[in-house]
């Protein structure tokens, strides 16, 4: 089932779960691959519920935020919900600097986040 190089995927009920495999998401080519794999995983689902798990990510570029913005627009455009979890303080700082901690629904870990989908 797990055919992706950059993300580990799973489904819990109707929630599409994504765990990022890379420690550093800085390179543009890595970003493009993540973008492609996410699109493939979510497929044609309109407004899916999505949980992104960042617990393996130590560094992330500002361009990754752009990808999250795209995903946010796609998900919320179809009445789905986008939630994130496992965000380290260093990465949370990136969200905070750009005020995006107020846009995204951020939770401590996957079980906590999953509980909020019901």
């Amino acid at each position: 089932m797990d055919q992706f190089r950059r993300i580990q995927t799973g489904k819990k009920g109707d929630v599409f779960m994504v765990l990022f495999k890379d420690k550093k998401i800085l390179d543009d080519t890595v970003l493009d691959e993540i973008r492609g794999e996410l699109a493939q995983f979510l497929g044609k689902a309109s407004g899916p519920d999505v949980l992104l798990d960042f617990s393996g990510v130590e560094f992330m570029s500002s361009a990754m935020l752009g990808l999250l913005g795209q995903l946010h627009r796609k998900v919320s455009g179809g009445q789905g919900r986008l939630k994130m979890c496992g965000i380290r303080p260093e990465i949370f700082q990136v969200f905070k600097l750009t005020n995006l901690d107020k846009l995204f629904s951020i939770h401590k870990d996957a079980p906590t986040a999953l509980a909020t989908f019901t």
């Binding site: 361009a63 700082q93 750009t98 005020n99």
Partner: protein, 475 residues
């Protein structure tokens, strides 16, 4: 039809010969067995000389082909046993040898071998040899009656008992081997020369491809330099002079093209516009977006300017910062493909009063250093990055400057600059650095901050664009 068949045996004269092979290598044995079977012969195969001798005694083969290096009994032992057995000695015996040493010939003679074929060999060559041997039957003479020959080789004397025909056969086969090897060398040489010609051609193609790459590269470097020049035109004029304001700025792109840019310019007689913009990412896509954004952030009245427009009565109207951010966000929503967005801090300073109105699109807070004393203060405004969330209304905040106050705008390349241990420089150190240089001229304090960031990032240097804009209000 049989005559036209390409699979017809090469040597039809002695098809169906009973052959015995002695070969310890399974692979070589199999290949030889298959080739001989394909040629129509009956083949038995033994894995060493002792087994082969048993087989030969069990049923007398018409010809024997034997390897030399084998366990239990070598090819020489096997050969000697055959040639001293009255019932077997007239069977033609071919030794497969690497012939790496002339002594091998002596040993072969001594063992009574009829023919040598050097390894590695072409199967057709071996078949030809077999045919030749079978065509001249060996006289059944007793080796005991053969003359004893004395041969000196490498200072060593050998006494060899061999029949005349055997000696002749072996000599001829040795010579033929040499001729065959020579032909192989000639062919190999020809192949080498063809390969060399091919290499020369490939080399020429590579050289021309290399030249093409250099040409394209030079072209790209030229384009990049031109683009970098366009980017520099987005920066404040060298002689930016605004009464009662001191201005200093630093801009260090981490690649030839940056996503950061900044500017400060008069909007009308009383107001000055200032901003730092940071487009996500680096390189060509980000810099193209930076150039596009800059067209909307111009103080010249035009169709594209979001900062100023002309009222019907001819007066210049200055847009309020929140309006500028909201409009930009609306304009750049279309960028679904690249996922690019930008952060921006845009302010309008009313010079006579020192009142600054500013808006933030996800940009780090500005720093004010109060002339009256007290630590540097961070003043942020809430707002998402531009082109991130559709249809949001931005709100601006107000900061009233006191005479002598300084403000610093910067990109996240300052607080987020990483040291070798991936520790960010941080707002605290940044504030401390600005505080330390408050007694120095504005330009010196901006330079001090840039130097501090660069030192923090040693030895690798900043991985992000670093942009700093300092303004001091001294009415």
């Amino acid at each position: 039809m049989a005559g036209e068949s390409p699979a017809s045996p090469v040597w039809p004269a002695h098809a169906g010969v009973d052959v015995l092979i002695a070969e310890d290598s399974r692979m070589q044995g199999k290949i030889l067995q298959k080739r001989l079977t394909d040629a129509g012969h009956t083949v038995r195969w033994a894995e060493n000389g002792a087994l082969a001798l048993e087989m030969a005694r069990e049923r007398r083969p018409e010809i024997i082909v034997s390897d030399i290096e084998m366990p239990v009994a070598t090819g020489y032992d096997f050969c000697k046993a055959v040639k001293t057995d009255p019932a077997l000695r007239s069977i033609p015996f071919i030794l497969l040898s690497t012939l790496s040493d002339p002594i091998d010939i002596i040993r072969g003679l001594d063992a009574g071998a009829d023919n040598y074929v050097t390894k590695p060999y072409e199967p057709d060559y071996l078949l030809g040899r077999m045919e030749a041997l079978l065509a001249t039957p060996i006289a059944d003479e007793d080796t005991g009656s053969a003359a004893t020959l004395e041969v000196t080789l490498a200072g060593q004397a050998f006494k060899v008992k061999a029949g005349r025909q055997q000696v002749l056969n072996l000599l001829v086969s040795t010579f033929e081997n040499a001729v065959a090897k020579n032909q192989e060398l000639v062919v190999a040489n020809q192949e080498l020369s063809v390969a060399r010609d091919g290499l020369q051609k490939t080399n020429a193609e590579l050289t021309s491809l290399n030249a093409e790459i250099s040409r394209i590269n030079a072209h790209m470097v030229r384009d990049l330099e031109a683009a970098a020049k366009v980017q520099r035109s987005l920066l404040p004029a060298d002689d930016v002079a605004i009464p009662t304001l001191d201005v200093a700025w630093k801009y260090v792109p981490c690649q030839s093209l940056a996503g950061d840019f900044l500017n400060i310019f008069p909007l009308d007689d009383e107001r000055v516009g200032l901003f730092v913009v940071d487009v996500s990412g680096h390189g060509v896509p980000s810099s193209l977006m930076a150039v596009t954004v800059s067209r909307f952030l111009t103080p010249k009245v035009s169709d594209s300017s979001l900062l100023v427009r002309q009222a019907p009565d001819g007066r210049v109207l200055v847009a309020r910062p929140a309006e500028v951010a909201t409009q930009l966000n609306r304009l750049f929503q279309a960028d679904e493909f690249s996922g690019l967005y930008f952060t921006m801090l845009y302010g309008v300073l009313h010079v006579p009063s020192g009142r600054l109105e500013y808006v933030s699109g996800g940009h780090p807070a500005l720093v004010r250093v109060p002339a009256a004393g007290g630590p540097p203060e961070f003043h942020g405004a809430e707002g998402f990055p531009i082109a991130f969330v559709p249809d949001v209304e931005y709100e601006h905040k107000t900061l009233d400057l006191r005479p002598g106050d300084r403000i610093y705008l910067y990109s996240d390349g300052v607080p987020e600059a990483m040291d070798a241990a991936q520790e960010p420089y941080g707002e605290d150190k940044m504030a401390a650095c600005i505080d330390d240089s408050r007694g120095e001229p504005l330009a010196a304090s901006v330079t001090a901050l840039l130097t501090a960031v660069e030192q923090w990032c040693r030895p690798n240097g900043p991985l992000d664009d670093v942009t700093i804009l300092g303004v001091e209000w001294k009415p």
